[in-house]
């Protein structure tokens, strides 16, 4: 079913965005480092798949859980890959808290509120429906996800050492973000309220929903899965990031000598 041609939106305008990012990257960040290029390509792959693949099609008013997958890709995965693709300005010596920019607290606060708040904001039932039904609002939502994701990850994986949080603070940042998205996920999973009404009565133009519903994916189960996707995978991603932060923290002495692979990439 996933290979049904109608589910693939090969003419999506997202290719323009992908092309633009590629051009800008190759112009601005030469010489290209292979590891960073892989991160960029992964990011662009996820970005394009969020719209071109059946995820993009089904997210457009058919299946809530596909809509959630698209959001998670745009908010968490794509920005993370894009940030990791940027060349990092290595400090000349081991990181020191005195090197940090004075506005780091503010940057982190905005990043946290942006990253966690975007999800909460766009899942107010009326806004969720509006953004799914109206192209321009949907575009605004997706752009805001990408931007919010970038500012969210910036204090953790931003290219400038001076704007990165100290690892223990970064752990707290991610831990509380996990709680924030968990709460939304728990709410969406267990609430009897229809979070995004447009998905409760979708127009089944391709006859796919009948098959999915016959397989047990009723709107209630769909919302259930959407909530769980909001809840568990982001926390797992944050956990991975916490592990990388701790690795960075414990190896912070080794900047000038031997850094681990993880630390090199992050």
């Amino acid at each position: 079913m996933i290979w049904t041609p109608e589910l693939w939106h090969w003419m999506s305008p997202v290719w323009w965005v992908v092309g633009l990012i590629l051009v800008v990257y190759f112009v601005m960040f030469r010489p290209i480092q292979p590891a960073r290029l892989i991160a960029l390509l992964l990011g662009l792959l996820f970005l394009s798949m969020a719209y071109v693949s059946p995820v993009g099609y089904l997210a457009d008013g058919f299946i809530f859980s596909a809509h959630m997958v698209q959001h998670l890709l745009m908010l968490l995965v794509v920005p993370l890959c894009l940030l990791l693709s940027l060349p990092r300005k290595q400090p000349k010596r081991a990181a020191d808290s005195s090197d940090k920019v004075p506005a780091l607290k503010l940057i982190a606060t905005i990043g946290w509120i942006g990253g966690v708040g975007a999800m909460w904001f766009w899942h107010v039932p009326s806004l969720c429906t509006l953004s799914t039904e109206t192209f321009t609002v949907g575009l605004l939502r997706d752009t805001s996800f990408l931007l919010a994701g970038l500012i969210f990850w910036w204090p953790i994986y931003g290219p400038l050492e001076r704007t990165r949080l100290e690892p223990p603070v970064g752990v707290l940042y991610l831990f509380t973000a996990c709680l924030g998205c968990s709460l939304l996920g728990i709410y969406i999973t267990f609430t009897s309220t229809v979070v995004c009404p447009v998905f409760a009565t979708p127009a089944d133009s391709l006859g796919i929903l009948a098959q999915l519903q016959a397989a047990g994916l009723t709107p209630a189960v769909d919302q259930n899965i959407g909530g769980l996707l909001m809840w568990i995978p982001p926390c797992m991603l944050y956990t991975g990031a916490i592990i990388s932060l701790l690795a960075r923290w414990y190896t912070s002495v080794d900047h000038d000598h031997s850094t681990t692979t993880a630390a090199r990439l992050t």
Binding site: F175, S182, N224, T239, I243, L246, Y250, V253
Partner: protein
């Protein structure tokens, strides 16, 4: 290091000096003694349970008594043995390990301790009321609600746990502040001994894991005393919500116990292998990760409830995931043993037994992560066997390792090794006899918590073996007690470092003096005492560790942040209950709802009043830092007045609602509304009291620019109360999420 004068200046050994003590070592010892006392109580209850189950159709105790026994056994072992004994070790050892003179807040430490016996007495006083709690240690609703448990036993259970919870959270905040703020120069966080680091993580976990229990307890108490129906399905409540709240607390609680065990083993195995730990960073980092992951797996305790297929799948996956950081640590400890000069002291024997038995408990835990297995085995003796392998085979064994390892430091005398090994083998046999066979009983279908059983094939024999094993454990414990009593009088004098340990506690006398150290060795690695004793082989020569940058934030601010994080979780759970009970309230609600009962514009005005108090506070703080005391007092007074005005508005609102017949027991909207806003009001009132104390201090000249961090700490709380209100106003009054 500490920046206050020592709070105890002379040595004294009278009883009164112990009661009044604020020394972290004495408080640590008192924690351990209290835990030992309750170990006997809880152990005696366990023996009665096993006596009852030793033979089929026994009527040694009555059914009611049996229910009380297993309820109190579980509650006692968790709250009055497990938590205090680890807090005791943490209290005694952590400040020594990080080179501190005492904990960050010695008086708070004493308060935290004394809450515990108070809570314990409340719990056991229930016997005198004629009805000890009998709804199980997790007091599932609706059994624990008034219609099914009308006598006051459950009330004593609730109040006892709430009191102990307050003590636990304040004690944990103290450890957090101590580790962050009181480390000796050179002791960077990355150089901390694993025991100190993991106990720090455990304290963080306590700070965030007790509040969900407190929320649940508060709601159950309101159900029972004020006639609400949060957990009464017959009146629209939700019994499963209790399970969610309880296990959001209950599963991380397992790690509140497991982390200290990891901490102990991570000290004992390296010292008796004569090697540094293998993979320090992994052991430390994975302990931090466990804190996070432990919060994402609670629903695996509820697979049989009927959450639905998808939640079951997701929680099964996360449960399997959390096994990774724990499982790999087993390899760390094993690799530490590999190639080491192993000394099989009693402490080491217990640590090795921990490894083996904990793996068994862990593996059966992974079995439960598979949902169909859980459905088959839940509430059978297989579960009892599983968690006792974790809690006793793992955790109690590590506790014995800690006892033998640190007893010389605590008392100055060595425990007798021969008696120790005797105890070890009695325990190994007794423990495995007791709980090993329970796996088979569970597989054969024997349910847990049954009072009697018929003489099914094999049940009698296995139960008898289990009961005999319990008796052996009791005998083993008596051997330890005898060993302690004997060693206190006649034990070999320990000296500073009898085990040739690596960490700072071994650099001072045994027992350590008041304020702990005459002088500290230079700290340049994770094993400063090893470095000092073996300068040629010093760790810092071969392995660099991150330098200490010397930054120590004010302890008062750190503790204020820890406190508000704890309180935030408490409020989040209350707000979750509001959302649960008020979603779609317009469709089938009976009686008042938020839209029909509340005056939103009026409360909006009072919201602005409260929020503006944050601004006036900020100005006051600014004035204090610049030593403009007159302006400071004026702005602080404004802040207090604005807080009082908000409370006045709340009283006005409550009066109107009550006069309209909207009371807390009217319906679930009223119950949740009064609970959330009531607790918030209490917090504002507490803030006003704190601000008033600040004003009095300023008037008497005790508060000045130098002490502005203290005021800033109060500010953290005051701003937090405002932020909570923004959430409350958005959700309750503006209907966000409904």
């Amino acid at each position: 290091m500490l920046n206050h004068d020592p709070v105890e200046t002379r040595e004294s050994w009278g009883l009164f000096s112990w009661i009044c003590s604020v020394d972290h070592k004495r408080i640590g010892i008192m924690y351990m003694m209290l835990a030992t006392f309750f170990l006997f109580v809880g152990g005696f209850e366990a023996l009665l349970i096993r006596a009852q189950l030793a033979i089929p159709m026994n009527d040694f105790v009555s059914p009611k008594m049996y229910n009380q026994l297993f309820t109190l056994h579980g509650t006692t072992m968790i709250f009055l043995v497990g938590m205090p004994v680890f807090t005791g070790f943490s209290n005694f050892i952590v400040p020594l390990m990080i080179g501190a003179k005492d904990v960050a807040f010695p008086r708070l430490n004493a308060l935290s301790f004394w809450m515990l016996p108070f809570g314990g007495v409340l719990l056991y006083f229930s016997f005198f009321s004629g009805s000890a709690p009998d709804a199980g240690w997790f007091s599932y609703a609706p059994l624990s609600t008034k219609p099914f448990s009308s006598l006051p036993g459950v009330d004593y259970w609730i109040i006892g746990l709430a009191v102990m919870g307050i003590g636990s959270v304040s004690g944990a905040i103290n450890i957090v502040a101590t580790v962050i703020c009181c480390r000796a120069p050179g002791m960077s966080m990355q150089r901390m001994p694993l025991f100190a680091w993991i106990m720090f993580m455990q304290a963080v976990l306590i700070v965030i894991t007790i509040p969900p229990l407190n929320s649940a307890l508060a709601m159950l108490l309101i159900d029972r005393w004020l006639g609400a129906a949060f957990f009464e399905p017959a009146r629209g409540g939700n019994a499963v919500l209790w399970q969610h709240f309880f296990w959001i607390f209950g599963h991380p609680e397992v790690y509140v116990f497991a982390l200290p065990s990891f901490a102990i083993v991570s000290e004992v195995i390296p010292v008796f292998s004569r090697k540094p730990i293998y993979g320090y960073s992994f052991v430390a980092g994975s302990s931090a990760v466990i804190v996070l992951l432990s919060y994402t797996v609670w629903a695996h305790h509820m697979f049989a409830v009927g959450l639905g297929m998808w939640p079951d799948i997701f929680f099964a996956a996360t449960t399997m995931l959390i096994a990774l950081p724990t499982g790999v640590k087993i390899f760390n400890w094993t690799a530490t043993l590999w190639g080491g000069s192993i000394q099989l002291t009693t402490a080491m024997l217990f640590a090795i037994a921990f490894l083996i038995q904990f793996v068994i408990g862990g593996l059966t835990g992974i079995m439960f992560a598979a949902v169909p297995v859980d459905w088959q085995l839940t509430d059978t003796y297989f579960v009892v066997a599983h968690f006792h392998y974790v809690l006793v085979g793992g955790i109690v064994f590590s506790l014995f390792a800690a006892t033998y390892y640190w007893f010389p430091k605590i008392t100055g005398r060595m425990l007798n090794e021969r008696l120790g090994k005797f105890q070890f083998w009695i325990w190994v046999v007794g423990f495995n006899a007791t709980f090993g066979v329970q796996h088979f009983l569970g597989l054969m279908g024997m349910p847990r918590r049954i009072y009697q059983y018929d003489d099914y094939p094999g049940w009698y024999l296995l139960n008898l073996i289990s009961s005999i094993g319990a008796g052996l454990m009791a005998i083993g414990t008596l051997v330890l007690v005898w060993n302690i009593v004997r060693s206190l009088r006649h034990g070999t004098v320990a000296g500073r470092n009898p085990w040739k340990g690596f960490t700072l506690e071994w650099s001072t006398t045994s027992p350590p003096p008041l304020e702990n150290f005459d002088e500290l060795p230079e700290i340049r690695s994770r094993r400063p005492v090893w470095d000092r004793d073996n300068p040629e082989l010093a760790d810092w020569k071969t392995e660099k560790t991150p330098e200490d940058k010397g930054y120590r934030p004010p302890a008062c601010k750190v503790s204020a942040w820890a406190f508000v994080i704890s309180e935030a979780i408490f409020f989040i759970l209350l707000l979750v209950s509001y959302v649960v009970f008020n979603s779609n309230s317009g469709e089938n609600a009976e009686g008042p709802t938020a839209s029909t009962a509340l005056d939103v514009p009026r409360t909006g005005v009072f919201t602005l009043v409260l929020l503006s108090s944050s601004l006036t506070f900020w100005i006051a703080e600014h004035c204090l830092r610049r030593q403009k005391m007159g302006a400071f007092k004026i702005w602080l007074s404004f802040t207090i007045l604005l807080g009082c005005a908000f409370i006045g508005g709340q009283i006005w609102e409550y009066t109107g609602l009550i006069s309209d017949g909207i009371t807390i027991n009217r319906n679930l909207f009223a119950s949740t509304f009064f609970t959330v806003t009531g607790f918030h009001g209490l917090h504002v009132t507490g803030g006003i009291i704190a601000l008033s104390i600040m004003l009095i201090m300023a008037s008497r000249g005790y508060l000045n620019a130098k002490r502005s961090p203290v005021f800033a700490a109060v500010g953290v709380y005051w701003h937090f109360v405002d932020v909570v209100w923004i959430a409350v106003f958005s959700i309750i009054y503006l209907g966000y999420l409904q």
